[in-house]
Amino acid sequence: MKSVSRLSTGLSVCVAAAMTIGVLASAASPKFYDDDPVAVERNTQDASGVRPSEIDLQVDLAYNVFASPGDRDVNVRAKNINTIDQVPDSSWYSNRLGHVSLTADAVARGVDTTDGPVPGPWTLTASKSDGVTPGFTITDQSGQRWFLKFDPPGHRGMATGTEVVVTKLMWALGYNVAENHIAFMHREQIVVADNARFTPVIGNSRRMQLADVDALLKRAEPEPDGSYRVIASKALEGMPLGGFRFYDTRPDDPNDIVPHEHRRELRGYGVFAAWLNHVDAKAINSLDTLVSENGRSVVRHHLLDFGSALGSGGVAPSQYWEGREYLIETDQITRQILGLGFLFPSWHRIDFYEAPAIGRLPRDNTRFQPERWKPRIPNQAFLRARPDDQFWAAERLAMITDEILRAVVRTGRFNDPESESFLVSALGERRDAIVQAYLTNVNPVVTPAMDDSGTLTFHNAATDRGVAAAPGGYRARWLTFDNTTLETHLIAETAAAVSRMPAPAGIPTLSRSIMKIEVSATGAPYPSWDAPVDLYFRRFDREWRLIGLERMPDGREIQAERR
């Protein structure tokens, strides 16, 4: 394993080196450029040379469980954020909540551009014969390709409804996802394509026949009218390239320069996965595609397959332990072996809501502890999430209203009003628990501004959201900042009982001057608020403009931030 860690460490930090070349070369490199903060992370290189590369499930599982790939340093500030601690739009992520007006109806519509597969004959071009439930690839009358998956028998709506609901929420949160619809397939509308191939579990690939379709459909449960409820997933635009790993970069993509474990949206994905109990957040449930963008081939990164989320385990209800343990935990195994089965894991004490339509979820989510949530397989990006990454995710999650939840859960068409109501309630409770945990775990100063006179105002995200009491006051250290030498010079320290502070005498007035203000809380309900947020403002003619915000600068100990 030594070579493994060497490889991963080397790969991950070399990108950091490239990104921070200015700092390495000399303090003469500016901390801020004129275009900071950037709103878009652009792909400037043509990626047409990228080739499909599949990730092996077993290798990915074993490697993440036993090898811990990626940067060994778990306290590294996210590397794809801009200077104000935000994630720019990119081929990975689009800022939606809070940036564009997203009504409940808009979220419920999500990424959808169609109503699903066009009714009529569906030409079956491929099938999935392994696993518990079948899967088909079809082309509808419009020529659009769709992937169809079924609910496990006895759980109508569980996997398909969950997939639709989670897809829409992940889209709202900013990720690239596929267009998923609930549709109904009639056996009579299936036409097997001449070139459709079928590969039995043991056997050679051969031409597919209708009898194969019938055999596969025996694993699915028909509706009373004989049709089959399916999730129809629209084929993504572009050439499929396989999934992306949650560590290192894709070595054949010139634009992929930030190790994936250091991408904030992938770290934050762990918070959203915890919220949605998306335990299957692993590499093979992602997909890169090669698309054309501004006349250039670039790689777009998507998240897929949300069938193992909420109360669904995909092919059965979610297991009791899921979300609380990894598939393999050696210390837990040792404890259980020695304990002769009498050391019951904590999930034995949880009361679960269970229903065929939605599967199994804890009945009471008000005491949900997101920091203890685990996917089935260790995810290297999740493992490197710091409090500032979790804060970023929690801020986004706080924008998901109950109204949005109700609208989105309705799109799952679970046909079980009580379970739908429970889901809305559970998602709301889990959201609130996450917001409570992560908005308070680091200094929550947000939306800072300086007016012409230099008066600083800001908000406290935790108190605004009502998840923490207001601190006794705030303290600010006002410094001048030299953007070339990175040197600072203290002007004064001020304090205020509220989140508004007049500037002290002596702040610079020259255009392009930069002020650094370190804002911390006093008498705060959380010790983590004692650590300052570093704010940087640049003077432009008659205004101060925010150009930098560092909630947890590199080098600051994580432990100091934790409750």
Partner: protein, 409 residues
Amino acid sequence: MRISDSIRKCRWARVAIGVLFTMGGVGTVTVPALAQQTREEELATAQAAKATDLHPWVPSSAERRIEMITRLMVPRVGWYPFIGSVFPGGSVAAGPGYRSGFGGSGGFDVHVARSVKSFSAGETLVTLPDISSGRVQVALLANWTNAPRVRFYGIGPASSDRNETLLPYRATTVGGSVRVNLARLVAVGGTIGYLDVQRTGPAPDEGPAPHVFSSSNVPGLGATPAFVRTHAFAQVDSRLSPGYATSGGLYRIDWSSYATSGNGPYSFARFDAEVVQLIPLFRENWVIALRALQSVTQTSAGNAVPYFLMPDLGGGGSLRGYPSWRFRDRSRTLFGAEYRWMANRFLEMALFSDAGTVTSRLRGIRRSNLHTSYGVGGRLHSPAATMLRVDLARTSEGMGLVVAFGPSF
């Protein structure tokens, strides 16, 4: 990790620095004069630097090893390594195998293997394509087994381990079987085949057999009969999978007829009944597994059950801790109980106890005849199959270790 170290290890980061310095018109670290005026330029420069050193994903040596292991473990069409047992008491065997499919759901599997105790076997199994959408399954089997040193202790519950001797057994089997799935849990079926026994004991230089055992007190010793075997079964199986389950039960009866074709008085019938019940407790953290098995044989006048086809006890599947074939007689009774607990999704532990005996007559079963064993075991399993079972058991004759590739029951 210092940044300079990381750059040394990363070719395209080195290239990036080179590009930057070149663009600045200088060549030393101390005079950077970077060309970028914007953040976008900085990102573009890093992307341009990476574009000079693109390559496909290169798996690490650890990834390659994991991939190789998983390829060996996952059933695939083509050549594969067979690892398992070729005959009870033969220990672990290995050899090459080949699998293929035909006609949709049909399959062909052939393997040859040799065990660490020099037992060898070759087997061909042809599974015909499903009939009636899988309701009817037909298979054809041909097997050749050579077990040169099979343990033998005598007949009856009181056989002594001091009389252990090693007897050869070599046989060829050909036949066909049919299974009809009447309902989701209910199946019936049968087999018809030909069993040609080519060699049985004694082995003159192996143990006291010539002095203690003879054809007069051991039916079939030294005989090489051939049989037409007819077999039928009926079962109700509510377990998720016969390979691994945590709930459900198996209720099964088997009837077999062995008819010699004029080369010995060894025709007999055999009846087996088995009940297995799995009781999950506390969200399957515990499973109480219970088993009862009864086997009886019947002969017509002048016939005897040959020792190598008698019901037996011992080995990994019954009365664990005792060696394979430890007890043989015309009837057997076996009870098993296990307390299983989940150590992990893929590892199950068990405390177990077996009790059983063999007798010449069903009415000969006495509590005083029962042999017992108890022990602890661990089982690596997938959701539907037991891949490796290791049981350590204690008996009145000492400790025994079982290494098997299937469930205990």
